[in-house]
């Protein structure tokens, strides 16, 4: 194995970690803080990817085909808001009736996921749709002969870093974030102290969904945009959150790094299918010994 293969594997690992982290971030927030196992998370990602597609269609119509770069930049915040709005509505009409009933929650969100997928099929057709990547993301840096670092992967690395830093600042530096952490640690006590936990829940769910929307923009650069796009990422996202331990930002980051770096290594020494099998076996073994995951949150709640 040449040095360029090794280096490109390290880069592939980091890049995969960043994708997994971006997808898992929103899930970790809703799952960790609210205890809702949201199977429709992947469909919020799909919504984000379709926002990129729709916006690019509109830009092409009004500004010609040169505006792909600009439309992609605008679709980043827009997909966040569209997915967040959808999450807000879903929480209001469905999720809030299911707090403390995780099994019904799984079924209900899974049902939502099927409804959203079929809705996408009916609106956009069953086929995948194509989004032209912005010009400034085509190609890559030639780090050394035989090793090209694609711009789109570098961009996703940067985007993920930005999102993680943003969430960190929000959770640990703002009053809203403090309330969120309080509810996460001890819901009843927070309610006693005057925090409107219902409001925090709604907001948290919308935030988590919005992050899935941004992830949707990112994965539209690497993969398909279609009704089943969300399904392709949801299992890995759950793996990251469970492995990392719920409720801790650091846990999700660690989970994504472990999965992202190990997966390409196993894939390289065996095959793609076997690599995933080996990784999942290791995760299961690890969780047998440490069911809370890599990082666990010490709560004061009695559960």
């Amino acid at each position: 194995m040449g040095i360029e293969t090794l280096l490109s594997q390290i880069f592939n690992g980091l890049s995969l970690s960043s994708v997994l982290l971006l997808v898992g971030l929103g899930l970790s927030i809703t799952f960790g803080i609210m205890g809702v196992i949201n199977f429709a998370h992947g469909e919020f990602l799909m919504v984000g990817a379709y926002v990129v597609y729709v916006l690019q269609g509109l830009f092409n119509k009004f500004y010609g085909h040169g505006a792909a770069g600009l439309s992609f930049l605008i679709s980043l915040p827009l997909s966040f808001f569209v997915a967040a709005l959808l999450g807000f509505l879903l929480e209001k009409v469905l999720i809030r009736f299911l707090y403390g009933r995780p099994y019904e929650g799984i079924l209900a969100t899974w049902g939502c996921s099927l409804i959203l997928q079929q809705a996408a099929r009916n609106i956009f057709g069953a086929n995948n749709v194509d989004v032209t990547s912005p010009k400034w993301l085509a190609g890559g840096v030639e780090a050394m002969p035989g090793l090209q670092l694609p711009y789109n992967r570098l961009f996703i690395l940067a985007l993920t870093t930005l999102c993680v830093v943003g969430i960190y600042l929000y959770l640990y530096r703002t009053a809203q974030g403090r309330r969120m952490r309080a509810v996460m640690q001890n819901r009843d006590m927070s309610a006693c102290l005057g925090i409107r936990t219902r409001k925090v829940d709604t907001f948290t769910f919308a935030l988590g969904s919005g992050l899935a929307g941004i992830a949707g923009c990112a994965v539209s650069l690497l993969g398909s945009i279609g009704p089943s796009t969300g399904q392709n990422y949801i299992i890995d996202a759950f793996m990251v959150v469970v492995l990392g331990g719920t409720g801790r930002l650091a846990g999700t980051i660690a989970g994504a790094l472990v999965m992202g770096v190990l997966n390409p290594v196993f894939e390289l020494i065996s095959t793609s299918s076997m690599g995933k099998v080996i990784l999942f076996i290791l995760v299961i073994l690890f969780l047998q010994g440490k069911p809370q995951g890599l990082f666990s949150l010490k709560t004061r709640a009695l559960d």
Binding site: A126, T132, S228
Partner: protein
Amino acid sequence: MLKVKSRTFILSIFIIAVVVSVGSVWINAARSAEKEPIKVGILHSLSGTMSISEVAVKDGELLAIEEINARGGVLGRKIAPIIEDGASDWPTFAEKAKKLIMKDKVAVVFGCWTSASRKAVLPVFEKYDHLLFYPVQYEGLEASKNIIYTGATANQQIMPGVTWLLKNGHKKFYLLGSDYVFPRTCNLIVKAQLKAEGGTLVGEEYTPLGHTEYSTVISKIKAAKPDVVFNSLNGDSNVAFFKQLRSAGITAKDIPTMSVSIAEDEIRGIGAENMLDHLAVWNYFMNMETPENKKFVAAYKARYGKDRVTDDPIEANYFGVYLWAKAVEKAGTPDPLKVRAAVRGLKFKAPEGEVTVDPTNNHVWKIVQVGKVKPDGQFDIIWSSGKPVAPDPFPSLVSNKIVLEPGKIVDRKK
């Protein structure tokens, strides 16, 4: 007094109801004796992950039915399609097939896409001795008397594709496929062929269906330095593979790929710019120059929208419907058993050229072509077999069986 009145009222209502219903039944019976439509079943995944491909095939079948109805139907009777959704779920396919045959009493079923769904409905069609037209290229090793295979079998797509590559200087093969029955069987054939025809295998990789991360696979391909990647990936994975291949700086000039599951419809989702100059092997391409094809493409676009495209499986059951109608005319009845006998050896001028149903194995004689992706998402046809290739569902490279007649498969004599 009141009682009597209401009783008369109810009685009179009852009499009126009886008269009206008897009358309508009589009128209906009279009408149906004249021209009862022939019911046909259409069974595809209209929801779920496979609907990405199957909805368009259903549209092609409906177009053929509408065209036949517009010129007066078959045997003076209209064709009435009954559409069922297999929902990308194989047991559902079997259940719906049973419903179409037993409850709706259809004369024929057009349907399925994946080999898994075909294998699921096969026992149903054999049990009720019925008839299915199956439109998709597949791995072969099957020849049921109850199925007419209008798509290609291995020796009409995969094998000529490999031979063409070897003849054009692509000796070192890297095999990439999704991890299920079709790609694995397909590559079994390719490997046997490489051995027989003087190619070398430099790598083989299978990824789970729906796999999205191809950076490691691409690193492996780069390290193996193949002349060509023979690609049997299916579904969404193709989008991820080609986008990531391009952003890793590999173009068709560096390492060309030949795909067996990507047609015009899939390219729309992958993006032509991501697949530029890569190859595919099929029996039909949308920009073929036959007059039948020009008519077909124009009709399809007029019916479903000018941004829609036609492709190989859509065309296969478009002419499948016509073949069936021709067999019904020949048999003089829509009865599946008689139609099945009548369809053998039948010829039809399809958009891809003349096709013939092989009397011994129920597959169709088809021409084979290699296409190169153009910037507009269409294929530049760079090679054609010129004349239709005889179907051989049990190629001697991988099987020691031989088909005597549909449903009768025996070991080859040594």
